[in-house]
């Protein structure tokens, strides 16, 4: 980071390549479509480079970058016509190391995931975003707060309300 602050573009490129995957996925979940997500992530990195001088020494880089990229993504969502529906990977796609379930178990698990995803998508935006950042992307609470531009306490309360809402929805659908 120090090298990047001093103008070393190789160091900056390393930072971009290290964080671009998560930055894009974060922007995708917040902006709602791949085109806006790519623009938001790219603009976010360019703005972050311009703001390197204001980066507090000793602070964590990832939440700082995510805050900038997520802000770009949220701005785009406000003007976006519609959000693409999130989708699950095809049933046949198995990650390396995964146990291969029986066809019946895979079908059942797939249906449960589809219901859970639909319930997440039906949440109000601020609850959905909190769930998306914290659990779907696996960000820490601090990173979620940075990405959403809110305090950590606000993230906790939004998550709590969102989880309660999801439990209610799933219970109504017959899932415990």
């Amino acid at each position: 980071m120090e090298r990047a602050r001093r103008g070393d573009l190789d160091a900056w490129e390393t930072i971009v390549r290290t964080h671009q995957g998560l930055a894009f996925r974060t922007a995708y979940l917040l902006a709602g479509n791949a085109g806006d997500a790519e623009e938001a992530a790219q603009d976010g990195f360019v703005k972050a480079h311009r703001a390197l001088g204001r980066f507090r020494r000793g602070a964590e880089l990832r939440p700082w970058l995510l805050r900038i990229v997520a802000n770009e993504a949220r701005n785009r969502r406000r003007s976006a016509v519609r959000r693409e529906r999130l989708a699950l990977r095809a049933a046949g796609e198995v990650r390396p190391g995964d146990a291969v379930p029986s066809p019946e178990a895979a079908l059942l698990a797939g249906e449960q995931r589809e219901r859970l995803l639909a319930a997440v998508e039906a949440l109000p935006d601020e609850h959905r975003d909190a769930i998306a950042c914290r659990y779907l992307l696996g960000l820490t609470e601090a990173e979620t707060a940075a990405a959403l531009g809110v305090r950590a306490g606000t993230v906790k309360s939004r998550l709590s309300r969102a989880l309660a809402r999801l439990r209610e929805t799933l219970a109504e659908e017959g899932e415990a």
């Binding site: 001093r6 103008g7 900056w12 490129e13 996925r25 699950l88 659990y135 989880l163």
Partner: protein, 230 residues
Amino acid sequence: MTELELRLEELGRELAFPPAPDLAPAVLERTMRRPFFWGRVAVAVAVAAALSAALAVPQARTAILRFFHLGGATVVRVETLPRTTERSRATGLGSPVTLTQAERRAGSRLELPPGQRPARAFVLGDSLVTVVLRTDGKTVLLSEFPSLGPGSLRKLTAAEASVQPVRVDGAEALWIEGPHAFEYFGRNGFAQAPVRVRGNVLLWTHGPLTLRLEGRLTMEQALALARRTR
């Protein structure tokens, strides 16, 4: 973590994200279009002018390798230095004036090391003030101009010159050793032709001023003098 939270994490791993594009080439290209700067206001127009001026010099067109931006100064590392002239002893520093007149024309008080207040100063392009000082048994030039004023300083460094980030009282500074040239763009379209620099140079900012120290000093000597300059 509750079962629902674990299920949500699992859901995240099962999401079909679009393939992540490689953002680095576009980000770097856009980054290169702008100067690097350390938290100070970017004078985009000045740097665009500096870039276009660099591109207009055939010898410098080979490649612009890197930008550094500090206060009102831009350092451009190029593969080949442009054609330069030796600085004229008579007029290369600008018009000789008294220190008071120089401060009036520059619009701010000059920063000087304690005990050094030369009778004469030189003003180039109405805003770059230079004084000649003696320190550590050597003659050095101390130049100052407002960072956000009408003037901008451009240094062109050859690929073999070293540009080292250093600090003066906690603020970013640049130490330049090796072949380089400098140009100054002042008020009313004033532009000084590239001048070859023989010594080493320390560039730093203090308050609203960008300062430049040139001479055959070591980096430690230059930094010590810069820290005393107030």
